[in-house]
């Protein structure tokens, strides 16, 4: 009842000075709005990056060749062909934590089909690759283990390649030539879109790993071995196991460094989200400063309000208002002022986030906890910056307040 009355009195006072109240709230509106918009966009882009990285495959582990050594000079990562088809075989046979393992042999070639041609990457992989990388077949089939054994000249086209070479016509069964080797198109992949690094994942042709290795490449160099762990929880165990198997396979002594690098999907996700997270936090902190300025604006206006209403305070004290009653009244007014500003700020922030999200084409994640935090924070701003003026009002002497002109 009493609080309801305080709220009513506060609302009356805010409505009596509409323009002034609005200007006072502006600081809070801008502060809360920008914090919410930035958080929503920040979390949205974080989510986008995560989905993009996840779309690379499930529980993915990438084994790259390690740094070579030429005399005393250490060469960069991937400078030696330290991973081989034997490694793939060993991983398949010995590991317990890996669901699937596939080599990847890549050559960049001009591909010709009839009178059309297109430069793309031809990747030699095993049938498991489809599962590992989350590719799906749109039409036709993917090749089999048998095709790998026989070095079959079968090709599965990515959506982009299919469109560039065949346009609207059906590529299934057609012939294409890669470095004068004829291939038969046996399947077309479903569209996958851009990767997190921005390259087109549909601009690719898959052939059996052996075909690429022996017919198109040098017969030994693997670009990468892709593996899929049995579950997300087993990612760390899988990484250890791979290290163990490959070190044994490469006959490395304890003093020697690994001649390969393992990178896991979770690592990449963490790195990326850490980066965007830092950026979001930084921008939000800057936005928070405007909230602080908004709070000071509220304090300023509340001080003016206390002076303006000195006589009213005197009357209220004369009829029996305690100092705490007066204090509560001004605090409530400051809190309501900043809360209304906060609500406007949330609306502004969300519209800004969704507007910008639509324009920039990135997801917007509205987080209830962020909104609730913003509300709590603005109420806190009201209490903090309302406290001094409210205390000043409560400390007035009734006689002096009544005499105030």
């Amino acid at each position: 009842m009493k609080w309801f009355k305080f709220v009513k009195v506060a609302l009356q006072s805010i409505l009596k000075n509409r323009m002034r109240s609005l200007l006072t709230m502006l600081g809070v509106i801008i502060g809360v709005g920008s914090v919410i918009a930035l958080m929503a966009l920040g979390e949205g882009s974080q989510k986008d990056i995560k989905t993009q990285i996840s779309s690379m495959g499930t529980n993915l582990l990438m084994i790259h060749p390690g740094a070579g050594r030429s005399g005393g000079v250490r060469l960069g990562s991937g400078s030696l062909a330290t991973i081989s088809m034997d490694d793939v075989k060993a991983l398949r046979e010995k590991s317990s934590t890996l669901l699937a393992v596939s080599p990847n042999v890549r050559v960049s070639e001009q591909v010709i089909a009839g009178n059309a041609n297109w430069s793309t990457s031809v990747e030699g992989v095993s049938p498991d690759y489809l599962t590992i990388r989350n590719y799906e077949i749109a039409s036709g089939t993917f090749f089999t283990e048998r095709d790998v054994r026989t070095r079959a000249k079968a090709a599965v086209l990515g959506r982009t390649v299919a469109e560039e070479l065949f346009g609207d016509s059906d590529p299934l069964g057609a012939r294409i030539r890669v470095r004068n080797v004829p291939f038969k198109v046996i399947g077309v992949l479903a569209e996958k879109g851009q990767s997190s690094m921005g390259n087109d994942q549909d601009d690719v042709i898959f052939t059996p790993s052996t075909t690429a290795l022996y017919r198109l490449s040098d017969g030994k160099t693997l670009r990468v071995i892709m593996a899929s762990a049995v579950s997300e929880e087993k990612m760390d165990a899988a990484e250890k196991e791979i290290t163990q198997i490959l070190r044994a396979q490469h006959k490395l002594s304890d003093s020697e460094e690994d001649d390969f690098n393992i990178r896991s999907q979770t690592e990449i996700i963490n790195m990326a989200s850490q980066m965007t997270g830092t950026l979001t936090a930084l921008l939000s902190a800057i936005a928070g400063v405007s909230l602080l300025v908004g709070g000071i604006g509220i304090m300023n206006i509340m001080l003016v309000s206390v002076t303006e209403r000195t006589r009213e305070i005197g009357i209220r004290m004369a009829v029996g208002a305690r100092g705490s009653d007066i204090m509560a009244q001004f605090l409530v007014e400051a809190i309501i002022l900043s809360l209304i500003g906060g609500v406007f700020g949330i609306v502004t922030g969300l519209s800004l986030a969704f507007g910008l999200g639509a324009i920039l084409g990135c997801s917007v994640v509205t987080n209830l906890s962020v909104i609730l935090t913003a509300v709590a924070f603005t109420a806190g701003v009201g209490v903090f910056f309302g406290f001094y003026p409210a205390r000043k009002a409560a400390g007035l002497h009734p006689i002096e307040a009544l005499r105030y002109e």
């Binding site: 009213e312 005197g314 009357i315 209220r316 004290m317 009829v319 029996g320 100092g323």
Partner: protein, 247 residues
Amino acid sequence: METILLKDAQKIFTLGGEKVHALDGVSLSIMPGDFVAVMGASGSGKSTLMNIFGCLDTLTSGEYFLEGRNVSGMGKKHLADIRNQRIGFVFQGFNLLPRTSALENVQLPLFYNRNKKGLNPKKLAAEALDRVGLANRMSHEPSQLSGGQQQRVAIARALVNDPAIILADEPTGNLDSKTTLDVLTLFKDLNQQGITIVLVTHEADVGEHARRVVAMRDGRIISDDLNGNNAEALAAVQPGTRQEAAS
């Protein structure tokens, strides 16, 4: 038991390093149902006395009992509660909240009353307005009311918490002679209903409506008489006033 009992009250203000005795050993008792006018020129200490009675200010020394309770040593919080429940104020400048209806103005003391849980503030306020003859002006704001009506709203506000005493500080100072008479008649009526009233004035013809007149000068009581016997005292306080009143 006395409604008001003041024993050797001293109030000293320090103005620019100089000590001013606003009250200089005042002793006074007022019984329930009395109607007292405190008279004196400006600076005589009558307003200070009123502020002490109203628990708006505290004594430098001496004791003040309100309905037998020693108020002298009480803290701000208790004084606020006493003002709220035991004292009704009527001011010269009405002191109503602007842009607030008469009914809401009268409800104001009830808002701060911590002992009247469960009572209907609207009903009590309406009854108080009815007592001062403003039953038909409840939703009017002060700016829509005449001076006399505004003062009657203030009186209703003073009545609403059923106080021990009504303190009126120059209640007719801003009113013309006709409305002055209306307001004083209202005070008399209320006094006849048993309400104790103390009013401060410097106008002799206002003082004449009270049952008892206390005259002050330089922080001291110089006379304390039942009405009709106070001619000399009045003359001493304000030379010439009587002649004007008589003429």
